[in-house]
């Protein structure tokens, strides 16, 4: 997988971690290795098991099977308060009956008083809340509460910080600002992060690597660009963003790691599938809308390339133009392009659509 995990011994290693609630496995035989100083995102819809996996790592739940190791220490079976891992909760879970500084100091009870005060002051300066030390959490804004929660979770200098939907409760403008702050802080502290999120954009902004979860399993792990451009399944393709899935049948192999696919309105080429598929199998070709380019339909003049299509709808979205195209068999393909070409190819226009074979992935249907 990623080279970072092979270079040195991993910081965190999960092996076969399983957790059942009733009969159903919420987390199903998960293996995962996390490097020092890495930001790893667990991405998936609600109910996919990502929060349960985080709670297993934090120690709020104990696995039914498998082991959790941090460095050389086996954490399996240890309760949360004995694990050198801290967590930032989605609700922030600030103690409402304590001031900001007492919240931040809570994890430092075992330190001498003078050291504790100095550390709290440092942490509050780090999150720019030094003027709010004596305030109660309920008098703070959402962004300030988030920063208190972050300072409190970092107080014990954990080697690994778990963040459960850290930005979900913030409004959009604040979210982007906080994302870059969080990333800058992580680079400075060199603490590893595991971030749970359902928002692919958040995962892309924060993570070095992303693990996509479905039904209690991690179905694909990789850098965000890798997951976006080379998804291993329709599920991953759809989760990371808008995608066209053009149905067809697998054709013969071609040089350069490509493969032909016969679709209703012609033939196209795409990268060979990773999955074990044979010629004639039903497949889909996954291609992102921004990879689909349009050209004029020059039928009758011979040397045309691409698949013939009709523009069904054209929508101006400010930073891009989104078009819905209908292929000969009536199936729809979405294409998005730069706003400069706004006037070209209005609704009703006949076009040819093309995309680079390397930008398209063949997936099991």
């Amino acid at each position: 997988m990623a080279a970072t995990t092979e270079a040195s011994a991993p910081l965190l290693r999960l092996a076969g971690v399983t957790k059942r609630f009733g009969g159903a496995a919420a987390v199903d035989a998960v293996d995962l290795a996390l490097a020092e100083n890495e930001v790893f995102c667990l991405l998936g819809p609600s109910g996919c098991g990502k929060s349960t996996l985080l709670r297993l790592i934090a120690g709020f739940e104990q696995p039914d099977a498998g082991t959790i190791r941090l460095g050389t220490q086996d954490l399996t079976g240890l309760p949360a308060h004995r694990r050198p891992i801290n967590m930032m909760f989605q609700s922030y879970a600030l103690f409402p009956h304590m001031s900001v500084s007492r919240n931040v100091a809570y994890g430092l009870a075992d330190r001498p008083r003078a050291e504790r005060a100095a550390r709290v002051a440092d942490l509050l300066r780090m999150v720019r809340l030094e003027d709010f030390a004596d305030r109660r959490p309920d008098t703070l804004s959402g962004g300030q509460r988030q920063r208190v929660a972050l300072a409190r979770a970092l107080a014990r200098e954990p080697r690994l910080l778990l963040l459960d939907e850290p930005l979900t409760a913030l409004d959009r403008a604040l979210r982007e600002e906080t994302q870059s702050e969080l990333r800058a802080l992580q680079r400075r502290l060199r603490t590893s992060f595991i971030v749970v999120t359902h928002d692919p954009e958040e995962a892309m902004r924060l993570a070095d690597r992303v693990g996509v979860m479905a039904q209690g399993r991690i179905v694909q792990v990789g850098a965000t660009a890798e997951l976006y451009d080379r998804p291993a399944s329709r599920y991953v393709a759809g989760l990371l963003g808008d995608v066209n899935l053009i149905p067809g049948r697998l054709g013969p192999g071609e040089p350069g790691g490509l493969r032909a696919v016969e679709i209703a309105s012609g033939s196209l080429r795409a990268r060979s599938p990773a999955a074990d598929l044979s010629e004639g199998d039903a497949v889909v070709v996954a291609v992102r809308p921004e990879r689909v380019a349009l050209g004029p339909d020059q039928a009758g003049e011979g040397a045309t390339v691409g698949i013939p299509a009709t523009v069904a709808e054209r929508v101006f979205l400010g930073d891009r133009i989104a078009r819905t195209l209908h292929l000969g068999d009536g199936s729809a393909v979405r294409a998005s392009g730069p706003p400069e070409g706004a006037d070209a190819f209005p609704a009703g226009a006949r076009v040819r659509l093309r995309f680079a074979a390397e930008a398209a992935t063949i997936l099991p249907a």
């Binding site: 934090a58 120690g59 709020f60 309760p79 949360a80 308060h81 891992i85 801290n86 967590m87 909760f89 989605q90 609700s91 879970a93 600030l94 103690f95 409402p96 009956h97 809570y106 994890g107 009870a109 075992d110 409190r152 979770a153 107080a155 014990r156």
Partner: protein
């Protein structure tokens, strides 16, 4: 609000509170005759303080209410924690039943069964047995009040405390208990009130030298009502009202 609704409200409130108001008004009656108004006076309140047996009974009631309230608060809080925090253990429905049954059981039966128990094990009846008996039926009420608060408590607060290195005892002392505080105090006030009011159970389990205020009032009423009883009753109603108002104020607080 229409006239009709106002009238209905007025009648409803009168139905509930007119008897108590009449009682309170007559406690300020200068006349010895209960039903004849003889002018305003506080003489019966002064007479109360001079009535040795009545003051002694009030003192017994207060001690029993404080002690049984404290015992019920500890037991009820523990029961609420067990029911709210330990998921679905096998004997859970049984424990729920055992905690809440004394609340709905007829008082005569609770009193009688406690009396039989105390006689059976040879426990001398007095203040001690009163405290035990009152704690028994007040525990359920405390469990209800504390349990409601506990269900509204964000579980992640306790998890956050554990995550920051606090063991179970520190989590309970620094997070759970402070956040439950108002409900625990409200439960105590409710138990205190219930104990102060009780006549039926107390009549069964009390012994010589442990006459509570309601018992004293009741026995005097049987000999004839006098304005002094009105005054004592008014004070009792006042104490109970204050405690209940305090309890509901604490329960409503976030």
């Amino acid at each position: 609000m229409s006239l009709f609704l106002r009238a209905v409200l007025g009648l409803g409130l009168a139905f509930l509170y007119a008897p108590i108001l009449v009682l309170a008004a007559y406690s300020f009656n200068a006349s010895r005759l209960v039903t004849v108004w003889g002018g305003f006076s506080t003489r019966w309140y002064a007479a109360l303080l001079a009535d040795g047996p009545l003051v002694a009974a009030a003192w017994v009631s207060l001690r029993v209410a404080l002690a049984s309230g404290a015992v019920a608060t500890v037991l009820g809080t523990l029961a609420a924690l067990a029911l709210a925090r330990h998921g679905r253990f096998r004997s859970r429905p049984l424990l729920v039943g055992l905690v809440f049954a004394p609340m709905v059981m007829p008082e005569v039966i609770v009193g009688l069964s406690l009396l039989l128990l105390f006689v059976g094990i040879g426990l001398d009846r007095g203040v001690g047995t009163l405290v035990i008996a009152h704690a028994t039926f007040c525990t359920g009420f405390v469990a209800v009040v504390v349990g409601a608060r506990l269900r509204g408590l964000d579980r992640s607060l306790e998890e956050a405390a554990a995550d920051l290195g606090a063991g179970p005892v520190r989590v309970f002392a620094t997070v759970t208990l402070p956040l439950l505080g108002p409900a625990v105090l409200a439960g105590f006030l409710l138990a205190f009130t219930l104990s102060l009011d009780d006549l039926v159970i107390a009549s069964f389990v009390s012994g010589p030298g442990a006459t509570t205020l309601p018992m004293r009032l009741y026995s005097q009423v049987r000999l004839g009502v006098n304005p002094e009883i009105n005054a004592a009753s008014t004070l009792l109603v006042l104490a109970v009202t204050l405690a209940v108002l305090g309890a509901s104020h604490l329960s409503a607080r976030r």
